[in-house]
């Protein structure tokens, strides 16, 4: 009896020890064998139809704790920049052929689970993204919430620019996109957002456009920086146009993605604290009319004139603000009609309300869309006026 019990105990101990050593033996992956791809760039040469991928991999030994964490000295500047990342390029006929070529020069297995952002070159976007998009979403390692950005030139240029605050450039780039979306300037578009619009047939995908610009740094050297400078509009998998700053904000107003941010009118600046948009379609006699109703609430954060704020003035500011929002919205609607790209998911709104009629409309949506009559109704409310209630200087 005692012998049997001892045998059992030693078996349990043996199994525990074995289980420590053989966990995931076939699929074990060590950090030291992986190359963490932080950013992925996709370019296409329209003439030769050859794809180029740019991998921005993290070099773990060079990643230093950011200064805010304390202790670290931050990134060393001057000695060549980009130390914590490594850039690699490969070219081939299809995206996967290129991905495969990585093994010809990489010493580590590419690992896409931590990819922050995918940058697509302008030429590739205009030529059609389908093969690349399929590669990204079919791959189990790709995540649905990777951010997408379009480069206004080549994707490889953008991934090579050293960004100021972050150790890893792609992380910085992802943060730029997220910040601009938080302040309601440009949309942040994930793979999931993009493909959802893509699969919806009538809705046109959008993505922020990033560009490189140069400025003089603190030591007098020319420094390259990246910034978002527009929103790309797609029809199917091809990029067909670009929204400017004003139109991009207008887009966010219509698709109810205003979080916070500022509305600047000639005499004052207002901080948005909340907004809600409703898209109300109406079908009368075969014609579609769409009303975009925006209800916004803002605080006054700056007033240019040395005047006391009165209820009348608040009322005027509310109206001026509504006019400004309306002009942004009207601009983007005009642009989208001209491009004949339904970037607002008006089709979806019609589908939700008139599901029977939609079946006939869906195949003809390209003909219907530019004829839609859109009216914009903006209601604004000014809430707080800030810490002072008197003008601090009188005229």
């Amino acid at each position: 009896m005692k012998n049997r019990q001892q045998g059992k105990i030693s078996l349990v101990i043996l199994l525990s020890i074995i289980s420590v050593f053989i966990v995931g033996c076939w699929d074990s992956r060590e950090l030291s064998t992986l190359s963490l791809i932080a950013g992925l760039g996709f370019d296409l040469d329209p003439a030769t139809k050859r794809a180029t991928l740019t991998y921005q991999s993290i070099v773990p030994s060079q990643v230093k704790p950011s200064p805010s964490m304390g202790g670290g000295e931050g990134k060393q500047t001057g000695s060549g920049g980009l130390q914590s990342i490594q850039l690699d390029h490969d070219t081939g006929l299809s995206p996967y052929e290129v991905l495969n070529r990585y093994t010809q020069h990489g010493s580590r297995i590419p690992f896409y689970q931590h990819t922050q952002v995918i940058v697509i070159g302008k030429a590739a976007a205009e030529h059609g993204l389908y093969p690349f998009l399929d590669t990204v979403i079919r791959n189990p390692a790709g995540r649905p919430n990777i951010l997408l950005a379009i480069s206004d030139n080549k994707a490889s240029d953008i991934l090579a620019v050293e960004d100021g605050m972050e150790n890893i450039q792609a992380v910085g780039m992802a943060n730029i996109i997220k910040l601009s979306a938080r302040f309601s300037k440009y949309p942040a578009v994930t793979c999931l957002d993009f493909t959802s619009r893509f699969i919806g047939k009538t809705t046109a995908p959008v993505a922020p456009i990033m560009g490189v610009f140069e400025e003089t740094g603190p030591e007098g050297k020319r420094q390259k920086k990246i910034r978002i400078n527009g929103t790309a509009v797609f029809k199917g998998d091809k990029m067909i146009g670009k929204l400017n700053e004003q139109e991009s904000s207008g887009l966010l107003w219509v698709i109810n993605q205003i979080e916070k941010g500022f509305v600047i009118i000639p005499e004052a600046s207002l901080e948005i604290i909340g907004s809600k948009t409703k898209i109300i379609p109406e079908l009368t006699g075969g014609k579609i009319k769409i009303t975009v109703e925006i209800e916004e609430e803002a605080n006054l954060i700056q007033y240019n004139n040395a005047r006391n704020i009165t209820p009348d003035l608040i009322h005027q500011l509310e109206k001026a603000q509504a006019r400004e929002i309306e002009s942004q919205v009207k601009a983007v609607i005009k642009k989208s009609m001209a491009l004949n790209a339904d970037i607002f998911d008006f089709g979806g709104a019609v589908h939700r309300k008139y599901k029977k009629e939609w079946k006939k409309m869906e195949p003809r949506w390209d003909d219907i869309y530019p004829t839609i009559e859109v009216s914009v109704k903006v209601k604004t409310r000014l809430d707080e006026i800030g810490d002072i209630n008197k003008a601090i200087m009188t005229e």
Binding site: D27, Q113, G200
Partner: protein, 365 residues
Amino acid sequence: MLEKGRISSFQLSVLLVGFVLGSSIIITPGGDAGHDAWIAIALGLMEGSLIALIFTALVLRFKDKTIIEINDLVFGKVIGKLISVLFLWYFLHLGALVLNDYVHFFRLELYPATPRTVMLLIIMLVCASTVNRGIEALARCSLILVPLTISVIFLVTMFLIPHFNLNNLMPILDLPIGKLLWSAHSVASFPFAESVVFVMILAFLNKSEKGGRAVSKALIIAGLVLIIASIRNSAVLGPMVAAYNYPSYQAVQVIDIRDIFTRLEILVAINFITMGFLKISVLLYGTVLGLAQVLNLQSYRPIILPVGILMVILALTNVANTIELFDFTHKIYPIYAVPFQIIIPLITLIIAKLRQLPKTDGGIP
């Protein structure tokens, strides 16, 4: 009696919830209905509950008898055994299909390099060892695993609420009615009516009069969990929900709470491990016990491993690839399962009623 264990009606309910959640936790049923999947699940739940009524009525009519013994009583020794063998085939095949779901999911998402035989043998060893300990051990396992799984589902659903876009669920009833009904039927056949394997287990209830209520309660709870998961997936993934193989897994990948709670999809995989384990164990138990009864064995324990290996081999050979598995699950299985889930139990029940079995005054104890 081959099985000496007895389980309470509560344990039966929990085990049944786990069984129904089984592989449907990862392959959301009604997927072909797009954003109307939750309606298909609700309708399928109704159909599944009706089917469950048939077999529970049948088994509870004969107290303490499994379907194998009932078949012998109702159809006589020869035909009864034949019908029993049909059931055994269904349990074995269903077990192999669940193993397939298992291995395809894990080899795609988590363990691409691990050989499927090894993966199947490991899970089968765990299931076999549980079955070896009898129905009571299995039921007690479910008492721990099922509440854990359901709370994980609710937790990740909470985390996903910020990503909900309820517009994605509109318009309701977008599908042609025929397609919706087919989808509902396919939901009824997988997973709800698969609970027909409990014809092997209902006999071991300590209070058999509570069996009917226990089964319907369990089906409703599992149905609600699946409806919530389906609404969540549609609201988060939008039209892409129909494109993904494993929508729950993709939806949970979206969770990102201040960069702290991210990459929670492993929770979905863990849910699938535990619920899949319960489902395979129940099916293995049903097959093994049934086979032992058909062959008049003294004990079912010696044949657990052989039958388990048989299930593994069937899983390795019956489908060639994932899309074949999905095709079978969505297009053929809803028809293939009808005889086992509805027709045979219904005929047995009718004949039993006509012959006024079981005879309470006769020699059958």
